[in-house]
Chain length 194, copies 2
Amino acid sequence: MPKLGMEPIRKAALVKATIVEIGRTGNLDVTVSQIARRAGMSPALAHHYFGSKEEMFVSAMRHILTLYGAEVRGALATATTPEQRVQAVLQASFSPGNFRREAVGAWLNFWIMAQTMPGARRLLAIYQRRLRSNLLAGLRPLIGARAGTVADGLSALIDGLYLREALKHGLPDGRAAVLMARTYLDCALKEAER
Amino acid sequence: MPKLGMEPIRKAALVKATIVEIGRTGNLDVTVSQIARRAGMSPALAHHYFGSKEEMFVSAMRHILTLYGAEVRGALATATTPEQRVQAVLQASFSPGNFRREAVGAWLNFWIMAQTMPGARRLLAIYQRRLRSNLLAGLRPLIGARAGTVADGLSALIDGLYLREALKHGLPDGRAAVLMARTYLDCALKEAER
DNA sequence: TTTTGTTGATTGACGAGTCAATAAACTTCG
DNA sequence: CGAAGTTTATTGACTCGTCAATCAACAAAA
């Protein structure tokens, strides 16, 4: 009973199912059959819409990035001062949603894929550029020329804190990560105004 | 022609081959046959010495950790002041060896495994504890009670900087990472003496 | 009837782990 | 010392399973 216009619906379902399955297993040992079953269709249909499993993975990562980007934009919308802008990025980066099993699995395997898959590497570069640029927008009014270095450090710190919190036993605490990043930030700001 | 006492030799060869293969592919899609071939033996023999592929992976990670630990100890041996102790940890963490393809692959997949494999999780906890303790030993004489927080922040920053440098296009530059971490450290020290 | 949606069946391949069998080195004990 | 037995090393062949991708065929909408 083919209703037309199924393509975007099917693709969205597959992307979501891919993320769930990666979160479930923790790695990329996920079969097209599993994904398709979870998305409520046959494996053949999955291959029909995405040419290959790899394309499913890349699309899944793109979706994760889109979600994260939306969260950042939402947080930035309520920020008025430069400090609040930086704080907004931190808040969004360590929001509870980012620590769900699916998100953690997606990010960790994102890094794995970025090693070898050009599409993944490109996406990761986009994420990094956007993060840096968002931080820079908040930092430049505060510390001018020194903003670049601080943005780089803060970016790395965000990734590192996320990694540690995500791999920690027990329920991860995003607020602790935000606090730790803020400490770095405050320190850098004081150093600059000296 | 079985010469006796082959076990340690074979195991070492398999561990090394496992690391090389993970570095080659970037992920854990490595077959026992590939590993065994590279180690110069039959797949059956690999299964004989390690009960399963998973045990090979865990042993490979243990080896990576051992190498890293030795590098840290070596660097610490030449340090006399507390500052030099911290600096030694940074230097060892960002040494060129850690940025070889095999090492990067090992670490990235280490994190993947730590999500679900208890053995890997335990190893990661050991690494984190040791890193923290090494940093603490250098930081406590400098800033006393505040050392804990700074050690945590510096640990996360090390992981984050490593991740970024390892995934960067082109040849990674450990010295840049050391410098970035030093900036954080100096900032924290100045803040503390205020 | 052309396009879009959908699937069952199939292909062709690969892979982890087992097992039986062979061979050499060590041990025991008469 | 030397034969019989034991342990260690080693592999080819095999089992049982899986999986990505293809294809032919069917159904319904335009």
